[in-house]
Symmetry: C2
Subunit: 292 residues, 2 copies
């Protein structure tokens, strides 16, 4: 493997799990990331502002952001209304989430997994008619904090259904950091996604990516600085930090298109914008090639 | 692979890189670790108190510690005087460090790597005459913060020399967290150690262990709670956290003999003894099997 594609998710997934920051700061973060060489950015989500106040200004953030023609930008949406807003805003890559775990889906979306899959089926023609693509993110693919282990066959069943309904892409989300190298092997031997989204909640983030690389996966989400807060307690980390992923990949001779130094500068900027110490070793210590 | 042997290094390597804590706290830490099921503990080092004030009370710590007959305890020593103290204290597993990088060895030990290797040769008969074994820890094996990459052939040369001189065991130390999966493969294809000691400074700790497991290594150092401070800056982590290593291994069906719940309780205790938040995801979030 000589290339891996990183999707930078700090502006959406990351900021959605942090204290709200001003519109201007979000735009600065997207603009800085757009100049790192990363080729894909999850920019915003179009959700109800009461549900996710962090994304209440999504339209304004996106209007102000400098769009680098070299970068593909995507938006997350929860329903038809969100999809219409994303399309109207000009997005042509749209993501929607369904949880493999019924309990998690009900807590998150107030309906069963089956009902959400039906909703997605109804959404796909609308997205396609606008010339856009829909990625289905299967959350809790590696385990559910309420139900525990999730049967890989259940994930495979959801994937088969949404692919049959016309979904363009599939991602697996490690929503609360329950993935491990063993679980990555177990799930990927049952069903293959286009992209993997790991957290580093229990330290296995890069070990999971290494395992997935070994199984041929070449697309990963990551969040600059590890932005994305902690699902359980202060100090617990959320998303894998983009600079840690890129640092390991480049050392393996795998290209990402990303300028690691510029990415670390962006992580430093993000730390100031958020006003908190971010959980990224490469941000703290620099790359291994940085000598004393 | 069905079993891995963990050596718990928090009482020595960990505490040596933290603010000093009282003798009683050190004893409590060793005693608690001795009841987790871990089979090897690096307990103290016999160094000059001016060089390492954190270990000034090594004799007293060891005298007070409850020695579990199921546990093998080891001590680190820098020279003949240290070896004599360790042997007098009853240790039969002794460790000594030499840096693969000449610059690092001079900064650390005020002599060249070659001179240190000669010192070790002189030490071996003394250790063996006391019925003890000597492990040589080759520091900066995966890179030096002053010199950068370290040639695997240089590490191999040191190993060949000290093995010829009678060293019983070899460990490779990732002294400042420069190891990556690629560097682990590179070095281990040139020369094999008995044990690996990784840091998690740049997030690759568990990915490195996963790589080494794949290459057949079955012995690893780890530090409960990730105790061991930060070589560069606050927030940067040092040693891999034992509970993160054990959590990943047990999930893979690899036995360590350790009771993970008891280990996490010990990490919680250690956090109180040290009075700081320790960098361990499994300590924060619990194992993946802990449900909401």
């Amino acid at each position: 493997m000589s290339e891996v594609s990183i999707r930078e998710v700090a502006p959406r997934d990351g900021l959605q799990n942090e204290e709200p920051i001003p519109t201007e700061s979000k735009v600065r973060l997207i603009d800085a990331l757009s100049e790192t060489g990363v080729r894909r950015i999850e920019a915003v989500s179009f959700v109800h502002p009461k549900a996710i106040p962090q994304m209440a200004d999504a339209d304004e953030v996106w209007r102000q952001a400098h769009k680098n023609p070299e970068v593909r930008y995507s938006a997350l949406i929860p329903n038809t209304r969100g999809a219409q807003r994303a399309i109207a805003a000009g997005f042509r890559e749209i993501e929607v989430v369904v949880s493999a775990s019924d309990t998690h889906n009900r807590r998150n979306l107030n309906r069963s997994t089956e009902e959400s899959v039906d909703d997605i089926a109804a959404l796909i023609p609308l997205v396609h008619d606008a010339g856009a693509t829909l990625e289905v993110i299967v959350a809790t693919s590696f385990g559910c904090p309420f139900e525990g282990d999730v049967d890989p066959d259940r994930v495979a069943g959801i994937v088969a259904r949404v692919r049959a309904d016309g979904a363009d892409r599939i991602a697996f989300g490690d929503t609360t950091g329950m993935a491990t190298p063993r679980r990555v092997r177990d799930l990927l031997s049952a069903v293959r996604p286009d992209l993997l989204h790991f957290h580093n909640t229990r330290g296995t983030g890069l070990a999971n990516i290494l395992t997935a690389l070994d199984l041929g996966v070449t697309e990963f989400d990551a969040s600059v600085g590890g932005i994305g807060g902690c699902p359980y307690a202060p100090g617990a980390s959320g998303n894998v930090a983009t600079e840690e992923v890129v640092h390991m990949l480049h050392d393996m001779g795998i290209d990402t298109g990303i300028d690691l130094d510029r990415l670390i500068e962006t992580a430093e900027m993000a730390e100031k914008l958020l006003g908190r110490t971010l959980p990224s070793g490469v941000l703290r210590a620099g790359p291994r090639t940085r000598l004393v």
